[in-house]
Structures are given as structure tokens and as C-alpha cells.
Amino acid sequence: MREQESSKGLWSKIRPQQGNLRLWQVGMLAAFFAIWHVLTVPGLMPPVYFDDANKAAFFFGEPLKVLGRVWDWFYLGAIYEHLWVTLWETFLAFVIGTVSGLVIGLWLALNPVASALCDPYIKALNSMPRVILAPIFSVWFGLDIASKVALGVTLVFFIVFFNVYQGVREVSPTVLANARILGASQRQLLRHVYVPSAMSWVFASLHNSVGLAFVGAVVGEYLGSSRGVGYLILQAEGTFDINTVFAGILVLTAFALVLDYIVGLAEKRLMVWQPRQGETERI
């Protein structure tokens, strides 16, 4: 009886809760790598599924070797050139796609005639699987970064575009009428009402678009390039070096998280006016 209670007490102390969430998250990651390790290292487990002890490692890689590869990349410095290229492509695609989506979205949303005219084409362009444009972009823009940026831009543009379009449509008619009565000119309405209102929608979409800019860069590299993390993965795949492929995926994931975090920071700074859930500060 006593023992049960004390073990219960122990569990209630270490169970996942507000204070130790990070610890549990790290633990889950460690457990994932541990299981991966146990299941793939040749000879550690009796071969249950594969007839050959080396096959598991061949298909799924070995975490220690994967981490070793990542370490080598960063320690010996071979990755930086490729990573830099991929991030630069992502950044350019993100900025160009966001700005053009913002400008064209605002313009179309405030121009009913133009928007009615372009409507079917926008829908068509959006529903098209735009990744298939990658080969065309390679032909147009060559195998250097321009073709990858172009692919990323087509992915980012539409997300931002549709969000801006929606944001402008959803401007509160009362706020709009109020601003007009307070004396806003058309330009001032655009700057002080439409753009801020659309920005909240744009920020909601930025997490998506930064991810897709990354996708555009990596897929573009994967389809034909001479630099970039996608190129590293492609090379490794060609020689069935599965550990390097996984190392590439690991690095990409880590940097996608970093990019997302940066967007989150920017959002927090610029969107202070938005009520957050659970925020009850009133006076």
C-alpha cells in the first residue's frame, strides 16, 4: 500500500507537465534514435524481417553513422557551401514570393474588374501542381540558383496572394467606413486599413510559405544542380549511401525549424495588437 502510494507520487512528479516538457521532448527524440539504432545496427538484433543482417542498415541507415556524417560535415566544413546556397535560395524565394504576392494580392483585391477578369486563370495556376514547372525553370534559368528561386517563388506567391486577397476582403466594413469619415484618402485607406488588415493574414501564412520556399529550393536542387543540400542528397542516393541521405534530411529539418522560429519571432514582434488566447490583461 505504502509503496504503491510512493510510486504514484514519483510518477506524479515526473509525468509530462508544464515544467519538464522540454526534458520529455528531448527524451522522446533520444528514444527515437535509440530504437532506430537497436533495429538497424547489423547483428544487434536477430534478423526478423530481413533475411540478411545488413539489410536493415542498408535501407534505413544507422543513426550513429548518420550523426557522424552530420558531425563531419560541420566539423570539416564541407556542408557550409551547400547549406549557404540552399538557404540563400530559400531566402530569395521567400522574399520575392511574399512581396509579389502582397503587391498583386492588394492590387487585385482592390480592383473588382481585374480580379473578375483574372479569376479563372488564378484558380487554374493555383490548382496546377507547380512542382512540374521545375524542369521548365531549369531550361529557362539554367542549373544555377535562379531556377530554384523561381520554383520557390511560384510556391510561396500563391499562398501569400490568396491570404492577402482574403485579408482585404475581410476588412471590417465599420473600420473602413470609420476611417473614411475620419478623412482618409484612398492612399491612406490602403496604407492604414487594407495593408495592416491583410498583414495579419499574411503572417498566418508565413509559416507555410517559409516551409514551401525551402521545399522549392531543395526540390529544385534535387532535380538538377551542382550545389546545395538537395544536390548532396541526390549524390548520396546515386551511390546508395543511405546514411548521407538521412544526414541531409536531418540538416534540412533542423534548418526548417530555425526558419520557422525566426518567422515566429517576427510575428510576435509585429502582431502585438492581436489578442492571444488566454491573455486576459485588462484594467
Binding site: S172, N178, W273, P275
Partner: protein, 272 residues
Amino acid sequence: MDSRDTPALALENITVTFAARDAKDTRYTAVQDATLLVAPGEFVSVVGPTGCGKSTLLNIAVGLLEPSAGTVKVFGEPLAGLNRNAGYLFQTEALMPWRTALDNVTVGLEFRGVTREESVIRAEDWLARVGLAGHGHRYPHQLSGGMRKRVALAQTLILDPQIILMDEPFSALDIQTRQMMENELLELWSANRKSVVFITHDLEEAISLSDRVVVLSAGPGTRPIGEFTIDLPRPRDVAEIRLTPRFIELHTKIWRAMKDEVLKGYARTRIQ
């Protein structure tokens, strides 16, 4: 004509007909042949049953809507476009949520090209006048409903409009906050008398605030059916004045005129 006799706002024989966008032959006449004159410095309340087109009249007066027939004159001049002499207090939230209270108050000055320093000084002053000194840095979602209304009031009054149009501005507030706001409004108004058109469905509110109460008929085809001069002494306290015999007398008289229309309006909403 003597300029003092010129009404600040004159709605003459206004008719407003809305045509349904998809079926042009289904029309709805919200306002029919309505005339409303407001003298400079006069506080006029317009009461009427729900859905009778009170807000439509205000939208006409500010120039957001154009009447199907009739004329709008502002200080004798026919109105074209938005009414630059008018301020408008909305029933629903009209503050810009992405601006702080202070920046919401300065926005009208900003639109007029007043420098930032000057508009901030004037806005701070107005925030203090509506009892919000020190709250300028807060965003609308961090303020209570009553405080947001005060910010809206400051936002409108800082531009010193000659005509103030109010569309049930306090209807969303609880009764105590509401009476406080009404007293504050009267104080601000008596310090600098402008023409006020105050729309409400609350007869007590109308009587306690106004110089004159105009009763509208039930829609469709709303028009004024009665006018009552409120001869209660000023300054008034809106909570106390409700207990005076003269107030009750006026209330009974106006309510008698309103009752049939209210019942009509109620019957109409029930059918719908």
C-alpha cells in the same frame, strides 16, 4: 436668411429604396419622405422600433449612402460625397485593432497632415478628457467595452466636428457604464455645443440626453411621426433626472405616441 436660422443638418424629404442585387424588382423602401432638421448646437435624439431604418438616416446624413430622393444640406450647402463637417460614432467596434488607443485618437489628425508631435499632444489631452489618461499605449483588445467607446469618442471629437452623429453608441454597454458614459457625453457636449443626432431605441436615454426627441414610425417606409421638445433643465444627471415628475410626464407622452409603432415593428419581426 440669417445664418443662425440655417439648420446645421437638414434632411429634406428623404426616401431610401434598396434594390435587391439579384432581383431588381424586389425593392425595399427603408425610409419614406423623411424630414429632419437639426439646429446648430442642438441635441436631437431619434427613437424608433427595431429595424426601422434609424441607421439608414444617419448613413445618409454622413454621406455613406445616397438618398433615392430628397436632399441633404449641411449648413445650407447640399451634401456631395462624405460629410466633412460630421463625426460618426458607430454602434459596433470601429477602432483599428492594429493601433494603440493613442494612435487611434491621432489617426484623423494624421489623415489631415497634422505633425506627429502636435497630434500626440492633442490626443493625450483628449484621452485625459474621456478619462483614459495613461492608457494610450494599450491596444483595443486590451481595453474593456466602455473604454473602447471612450477611445472612439475621443477619436471623433478630436477633429472638432460641427455635427456629431451617434448610432446607438452605448447600446452594447452595461447599464452602469452606460449611464456614466451618458453623463460624460453631456459634459463634453455642454462644454462645446455641437449639433448632435443621437440614434437610440431606448426612450429613457433619449429623453435624459436631448433637447428634442423625434419618434420614427415602424419600417418599411420609416418617417418621423412625432417631435417632442424636452424642457428639462440642464445640467442634467441622467440617473437622477429619470426620477423627476416632468421626466415621467414626458416619457408617458412620448411612449403613447411610440407604442403602436413598436407593436407594429415587433409584429413584423415576428412574422419574419
